[in-house]
């Protein structure tokens, strides 16, 4: 068999097998019936009035072999209200209420100029999209949906230039049982990444409106 022919067969085999090899490595495979998945996601989110959870956030810096860990509380209430409250190792509060973003740190409370805070805006838009089931309609990203380990993995690859500056990819892990977000991973272009793990998740418990108003 000519050498070129052998190489062609090898390349063809790699081409065919590589996606499966990759999927086998990560334990996730592409979702076949996207229509049904999307419909289920929207249906579930329509039934979700509130979400409350704890979170643990770990920023990993690849080159420095360094991790920065923070913790806090996450709340969502229909419609379009999110509260992210960092409690350790620093105090920081972020409220997204409709189109408004309010942040409070040790010094002051501010309305964020979202033009200057694309990262904050996009991270919150993504969380909001997950809650409302609109993640597939975010034009800033191309979405690939995988499934495995009892979870759906939505891989968001930035299309918009402004997002490419911030992220190389965003991974959203949804529990297949109730479509709640259990993990969010923000991959930066330089190789660093931030993982937010949501634990003690509770749906449709009573949450006061005051949680989402100006503190």
């Amino acid at each position: 068999m000519p050498v070129l022919h052998k190489i062609s067969i090898l390349l063809f085999s790699l081409n065919v097998c590589f996606p499966f090899m990759l999927s086998a490595q990560t334990g996730f495979v592409p979702v076949k019936d996207m229509t049904q998945m999307k419909a289920e996601l929207i249906k579930n989110n329509q039934a979700t009035q509130t979400v409350s959870s704890n979170f643990s956030q770990t920023k990993s810096m690849k080159m420095l072999n360094e991790k920065v860990v923070s913790k806090g509380l996450f709340y969502y209430k229909k419609n379009n209200r999110i509260r992210i409250e960092y409690t350790s190792p620093f105090q920081y509060l972020l409220i997204m209420n409709g189109g408004n973003i309010i942040v409070q740190d040790e010094h002051k409370t501010n309305k964020v100029n979202t033009r200057n805070s694309k990262s904050l805006q996009s991270a919150n838009r993504i969380m909001m999209d997950c809650m409302t089931g609109n993640v597939f309609s975010n034009k800033d990203f191309e979405v690939q949906c995988l499934a495995g380990q009892g979870k759906y993995l939505l891989q968001l690859t930035p299309v918009a230039a402004s997002m490419k500056n911030l992220f190389s990819r965003i991974d959203i892990y949804l529990e297949q049982s109730d479509y709640s977000v259990s993990r969010l991973t923000l991959h930066e272009a330089g190789g660093d990444y931030t993982v937010m793990d949501f634990t003690n998740r509770k749906k449709n418990i009573s949450l006061s409106d005051a949680l989402f108003s100006n503190p």
Partner: protein
């Protein structure tokens, strides 16, 4: 004619303006304080809560995040500022010889003047790029407990404020006419990085407030 009159008046006012420091009193010579290496902090890692407040002609601004100062095994140093959600604002790097480069920076921060200003701040804090020896030791305002150790810089000079028990309480960068940057530091042994630092940029009109986060704070 009127223009020249105004210009002359401005020159006279400028010439008569007070220098950054009144005549300083020569301090008793302390041999070890003369060496910049003696003043240099030794550290592996420090994580700070970082709050920035500033003013421009048009508006005020406020920014917050975490600042990580980390020495690597090859004696290089990274200074990384990121927001609370972990997104990197900038990643500055000094190699073991003190050569500076920007590893990563968000477009909003990528202004030459800002990068140079921040580079100088961190170099003053880490005592990088100082000449080997100080060119003066002084007292100020009759305070004999604090020695102002002066090192010349390419532009102006810097004072390190050191108490008799060898604690650093401040850093002041000035030229002959005005103070440019003042670091207010919680008293800290010379070989350590401070717990609390307030860096006031008197010309650029912004303040950086850094509070050290204990290593086990998030456990």
């Amino acid at each position: 004619m009127r223009f020249f009159l105004i210009l002359s008046l401005c020159c006279i006012v400028a010439a008569c303006s007070k220098p950054a420091y009144p005549p300083l009193e020569q301090a008793k010579y302390q041999r070890e304080l003369r060496q910049s290496a003696y003043l240099a902090p030794e550290f592996d890692r420090a994580l700070y809560r970082c709050l920035v407040d500033g003013k421009t002609f048009l508006k005020s601004y406020h920014l917050s995040g975490l600042l990580l100062i980390k020495k690597t095994e090859d004696h290089a140093v990274n200074v990384i500022f990121q927001n609370e959600m972990g997104i990197t604002y900038f990643d500055f790097y000094w190699d073991k010889n003190g050569m500076f480069r920007v590893n990563q920076i968000m477009p909003q921060f990528n202004k030459t003047a800002l990068v140079q200003t921040l580079q100088k701040d961190f170099e003053l804090l880490m005592r990088k790029g100082l000449p080997k020896y100080a060119n003066g030791q002084f007292h100020f305002n009759g305070d004999r407990d604090t020695t102002y150790v002066r090192f010349p810089l390419s532009k102006g000079f810097v004072f390190y404020l050191v108490t008799q028990d060898r604690q650093l309480t401040g850093i002041e960068n000035a030229d002959e006419k005005k103070k440019v940057v003042v670091f207010q530091i919680s008293p800290t042994p010379l070989k350590e990085l401070p717990e609390h630092i307030i860096i006031r940029h008197l010309r650029a009109n912004f303040t950086i407030d850094l509070k050290k986060i204990p290593e086990d704070a998030a456990e």
